[in-house]
Structure formats: C-alpha cells, structure tokens
Symmetry: C2
Subunit: 252 residues, 2 copies
C-alpha cells in the first residue's frame, strides 16, 4: 500500500530534508520512525528537498508499507516515534501511481521578515530581522515583476548545475501586519518548481527594492539578462517555510 503524509517541521536544528553525511536531516528522522513502526527499512520520498534551516508547514511525502494500522492513524503512530520538532499532521492512503515529488503540480513557499529598529527574539525563529523600514507599497508593486515564465539564473545559488534555469512563477503575494512594534512581512511565492535559493533571493531582491537599494530597472535586467549584480541578498533560511504542495486533487 502507498501512503501520503502531510508533514510540518521546525527546520532550525536540521540540515534540511535530504539524508546526508555530517548532519541530522528530517528524512533520516522520518525513515527511522517508519522503520521502527513497520519493522522494515522504509524509504520516504518528499515533494522536494528543503534546504538546511528551512521549515515546512505542509511538506508532503509518500512511502510504501504493509500495515494493519488504518491510514488516518498512521500520523499518530509515526508521531510517537518522531522528535517534537517534526510532526505528521495528516496521513492517508494514496493512489498507487502517486509520487510526492513527481506528481506535485505546484508549491507555495512563504518568506517571512520583520522590519524594525531592533531585533525581536519572539519573532526571530521563523522570520528574519530586517533593520529599518521599507515601503510596503513598493514591495507589493515589485511582486508582479517575478510572476510568469522567466530565466531565473541570477536567482540561483552560484555554481548550481541544472538543465535549465527557466521557471514559471504563478503568483507572488505580499501580506503585512504590524505587531509588537514592527512590520511583519510575508512573501508568498507559488510556482511549479524553484531553483536553489530562488525564493530567498527573490525575497531579498524585493526587500532591497522596497528599501531603495535596487531599482525596477535593476530587477528587470536581472530577469532579462541574468545579471547577478542586480539582485538582492539571498535571505537566511530560517525565514523560509514550505507552506503547501498542490497535486490537483484532495490528498488528505
């Protein structure tokens, strides 16, 4: 039987999703929990990797297992075997041809920043401090520049090897609210797929523009000519959360 799970994790203490040497990863914890539960080595496939320090509110994974546990109860059975910073929110039986990675139609990431004169430890775990203010209207305005099919080569981690750096972004939405003396900004980016660091670099570029350090012309140039000097800083991983993965049908 194939199963799908909806997973949330605080990525602070993990070297990202994918199993690797020299650091603890979310996949390793999930596979260990599954192996403990099912009694056999169990591969767990996610919709995609999340980088070191990146969080997930709605990561989706699949695995195969032979078990008498009803599908919707697998979440609790796995959670008993997982550390507190990883939680299976939902579990269900998945179609036999379902693949958490290859079946994914689109993903939504959210990058969070809080704009204030001083650091606030109560906001600091899932959001990045940006010193000073920013023009929120400019932030909303520039969001539109990233929507559509573009060559995002200026927005990927330098040295990345991929077949093509063209990606389609379906939407970029900015939500803000003022709370505890700072402006909290959420930048939601929805797309079919992303390059390494792409969302964090889009977020940094939008914030530079809203703070007056980049012009609209710079940003157009970065998207049309791939000019890396015209993009903002890649923002820290802790502000990024994989919010949801859409498969075109109701999985849970």
């Amino acid at each position: 039987m194939k199963y799908a799970i909806l997973l949330a994790y605080d990525g602070t203490n993990y070297g990202g999703w994918q199993i690797q040497k020299n650091c603890i990863t979310v996949q390793e914890k999930l596979e260990a929990a599954a192996q403990n539960l099912f009694g056999v080595k169990t591969a767990v496939t996610a919709s995609g990797r999340t980088d070191s320090g990146v969080h997930a509110a709605g990561q989706v994974c699949h695995f195969k297992a032979q078990t008498e546990i009803p599908p919707e109860k697998l979440a609790d059975a796995l959670n008993m075997r997982l550390p507190e910073d990883i939680s299976v929110l939902k579990s269900s039986a998945a179609p036999q041809n379902f693949d958490a990675n290859r079946s994914a139609k689109r993903k939504t990431y959210c990058f969070r920043a809080y704009l204030s004169a001083r650091r606030n430890p109560l906001k600091d775990r899932f959001s990045v401090w940006v010193k000073g203010g920013a023009d929120i209207e400019k932030l909303r305005y520039i969001a539109g520049a990233f929507v559509g099919e573009h060559d995002f080569k200026a927005y990927q981690k330098s040295g990345s090897q991929v077949k093509t750096t063209v990606r389609e972004v379906y939407s970029v939405n900015v939500e803000t609210n003022g709370y505890r003396g700072s402006t909290d900004v959420e930048i939601y980016v929805c797309g079919g797929g992303f390059l390494y660091n792409m969302v964090r670099t889009i977020a940094g570029t939008m914030l530079y523009f809203a703070q007056g350090s980049l012009t609209e012309e710079d940003i157009r140039r970065s998207l049309e000519q791939g000019d890396r000097s015209a993009v903002g800083k890649t923002m820290p991983a802790k502000g990024l959360t994989l919010e949801s993965v859409d498969y075109g049908f109701k999985l849970f």
Copy 2:
C-alpha cells in the same frame, strides 16, 4: 542618571528573570551586559520576575548608570552585549523616582494555546498544544468570571508564601484565529499583580471549561471557597508571555 528599558526575550533557554544558582537567567545576562558597557557592577530591576521558560514581549527594567551615551542609544549598546534571544527594544531616561517594579500600575500577560488534533512544531515555541477542540464561545464566556477582586488562593502554586492571595484582575480577553489547521487561542489577562502560576492556572481552568471538563459551578467555587479541586491544570510556561507593563505615563 536613571534609565528605563523595554525588553523582549525568548524565555525557552532561561531559568526565568531572577538571578539564581544552577541556571542561566535573563537578569544575569542583562547585568553582565550593563557591567561590560558601563565598566561597573550595575543592578537591573525588572517590573517583576518571570518564571522559568516564560517569555517577554514588553518587560520593563530600570538601572542607574553614568554614561555619555544618549539614553535612546543605550538599547543598541546593550544589544551588542546580549545574546540573540534577549533584545532591548527601547531605552530612555527615566524619572529619578521611577522604579520598574514599584511604579508598575498594571501588567498584561498573554497565554497562548493552539487547539488541534496533532502537534505543530511551527507553533510550539510560544504556544501550548491542546489536543482536540474547545468551545470558543464558552472560553469567551468564562473569561468574565475571573474579572474583579477575588481570592485566587486556588490558583497559586501550592506551597507559596504570600501575605494575601486576593488580587484584582482588570480584564480577561480571548482572541482566536484559525491558521494552518488549528485554532490559535490567546488569553490576555490584565491585573495589578499576580500570584505564582496564577495566569497559567486561569488559562488551564478556562480551557478545561471550554473542553467540558469543568463546570461554571466548579469555577465559582474555586474563586469563592478556594477549592483547588475545581481548577484546571497549570499550563506550561512556554505558552506565557509578559506582554506589557503600564505605569500610567508614557515611558518610551
């Protein structure tokens, strides 16, 4: 010169505000930063202690110092000497007769819980997981029972030694919103002063009532007769935040 500071901290890794043996405290970090900045031992007085693991969004402290640094710049000078989970949000010159503790007119605490079937690591740092649902209308309704002057002896930590267990609560407000599949509850309690564990026990009692484990009659009895068997669980410290301290005048 006397100075006042507005302080925020993530209390997770501290044994509360007050200096004590065998654990690291917020006061100790503040006094070390002040000593490093001013070159002499500097006592820092807060509006009140916060317990181990409790957070602050708006703790207020005072200290005396001889310095050429402009009052409003002291925040940055102290922050350079503080760990990242403690931050001075604002600093100002305070009246000579100002005492962060004795001048405080009222304090507002917020207890946060999220109600859902399963733990969510993205909510877990400043909020307590309450399994299952609760009747939010009942939660709002019972808030009124705690307002006014009551003998809160059933709501203090057992074994506490205080002159009187009568306290006046000025308001209890419940705010809720649904986000990421759970109901997030905020219980704001404003009063002149609180007994040990009082806010966390009020929150636990309100949640028990909203989940059907206590009746209104139980709660009336706990307040009128001090019946400890009629109150809910003292909720974990990590859900509690000292939101603000009011001195009856604008301090910052």
